[in-house]
């Protein structure tokens, strides 16, 4: 274990800043036979809701140039089963557990936050990219007032755990949402979630996804993610977890320079489950070669 990668994020000590991104790493356990989970800085689990959700009809995924589209539909076992069936096994590993969560209405968000805040998890990550069924499907993450509401109200019921708010990139001005989340009490921001995209099969003339549109992830979106992390860093004071298209340690450095204090690796887990571990090793090496005592020194150090 190397000192140069240790970070403290909102009071939580991570052995390294490499976290696997929500939705790309299941409940963590799926990867347990394939990589050593103990090496990871943290795991952000698949977005949890109050009740079990079955997700969208198939097909749900499609590859695109240097990226992929997904419309899983936030399928998950619900908060109760997550706590009973997944968390105890996951906790056996020496890594931080971030629980990504969401709701279809404000009340659901609050309830899930309240429940998880009492559990043996390290952080909560609020996904606000989902449409609010009560407000006619407008996503919580695309209307600043709603973002404020949901962050403020969840934070109010949380006594123990830091709250990370994960922003949607499908907005005109990400800075507004970072600022609002910060004001509403968020302890950190994670950015970005997927870009809204679509692909059509020209042979069948149908969309590749049953849901018609889906979320675009992977290296294709990295430039958008870097830009947004940079804009957020200039705007807010709370730490930022950078996400979007990370495939190698070089991408991690790039996110740090833009303003990240930790990162999440998503689509890369599908490309090769070893990637997060490789990144950790390579980062270690990079920091050593460049005489950098701790990776945190790089946060926001892009030279303008």
């Amino acid at each position: 274990m190397s000192e140069s990668l240790k970070i403290n994020l909102c009071g939580v000590e991570f052995k390294n800043p490499i976290i696997t991104a929500s939705g790309t790493f299941g409940y963590g356990l799926e990867y347990a036979n394939h990589i050593d989970l103990n090496k990871l800085g943290g795991i952000s689990v698949k977005g949890i809701s109050l009740k079990e959700v079955k997700g969208n009809p198939m097909p749900r995924i499609m590859e695109t140039s240097a990226g992929m589209l997904n419309a899983i539909g936030l399928q998950n076992v619900g908060v109760e089963r997550f706590i009973k069936e997944k968390l105890p096994a996951l906790r056996k590993y020496d890594t931080k557990i971030i629980v990504n969560f969401w709701g279809k209405m404000l009340e659901e968000y609050i309830e899930v936050a309240r429940v998880l805040d009492e559990e043996d998890v390290d952080m909560l990550e609020m996904n606000i990219s989902c449409p609010n069924i009560k407000e006619g499907g407008i996503a919580f993450g695309t209307d600043p007032k709603m973002t404020y509401e949901v962050v403020y109200n969840c934070k109010k019921v949380m006594k123990n755990k830091p709250l990370v708010v994960k922003l949607s990139p499908n907005v005109t001005n990400i800075k507004v949402f970072g600022k609002v989340a910060e004001e509403a009490g968020a302890d950190a921001i994670s950015a970005i979630n997927t870009l809204l995209g679509m692909a059509i099969n020209i042979n069948t003339r149908k969309p590749f996804l049953s849901n018609i549109t889906g979320g675009l992830s992977g290296p294709a979106i990295k430039p958008v993610a870097i830009r947004m992390v940079y804009e957020l860093y200039k705007t807010i004071k709370i730490p930022i977890i950078g996400i979007g298209g990370i495939m190698s340690y070089r991408d991690v450095i790039e996110f740090y320079l833009a303003g990240a204090s930790a990162v999440q690796v998503g689509t890369a887990n599908f490309v090769d489950p070893e990637i997060p571990i490789k990144i950790i090793d390579e980062l270690n090496n990079y920091l050593k070669c460049n005489n950098i005592r701790n990776i945190s020194e790089l946060t926001g150090k892009v030279e303008i």
């Binding site: 939705g23 790309t24 899983i72 090769d272």
Partner: protein
Amino acid sequence: MIGTVVENIKLNDKYYYMIINNKEFVEKAKVGQFLMVQSKEYDYINDPILRRPFGICDVDYDSGDFSILYMIVGKGTMLLSTFKKGSKIEFSPPLGNSFTIQSKKNVALVGGGIGIAPLYFLAKTLKDNNCKITLYFGGQSEIDIVFLDKFEKVVDEIVVTTNDGSKGMKGLVTDPFIKNIDHYDYVYTCGPKKMLEAVSRICIDSGRAVEVSLDERMACGLGACLGCIVYVKDDDGNEIQKRCCVEGPIFDGSKVIWESVCRG
């Protein structure tokens, strides 16, 4: 895992056969399982990005070779076809569940096009278990009927059909199969969805057990992304979700809810 390409043989314009060496893989491989193969040779390139799933077509425990039989479809398979002998290739360990192996039974294997791929490993295993095996092999056209010489050494009988009659009988593979269904104790099938559904119905109607191997689009192959869901009936008849990559790719054909299956 990383292996070495032992051979990458062009069978015809549509089909290729790749032999890969990796002892560890071969030791783990179970019949009916698949693997996720990285089709680009250089990891600094990000297009294509995802690995591609392929059935295990054959394994050789002595040499540590295993093989995949693949059809050229899009950029992943086009790239795969360019791998040269001796190249390194990256892939997952063997994934998914496996076929149930019958002993001393009369079995039918029904393969459609590239669906033939996992049936070869299956046929060899069933033969070792003293089954009497009939292979029904259907294709669109002559070009789709590959690997026959290999199968001839393993199975007891082969029935070939093509839609256009260019090889074997003209028609669907289910035409001869339905006529002989009474001869078999157990049926295994892999191929296009429509065929799997038809074969399953025939088996259900005549009370035969049928195992189907399903293709769903996959991202992780490990059960994490939930991109590959198949809906099946549980024992009480309730519709439940299975991940094709973990609880599949082999399913009880009588339990699959066919409307939910989206891959051709």
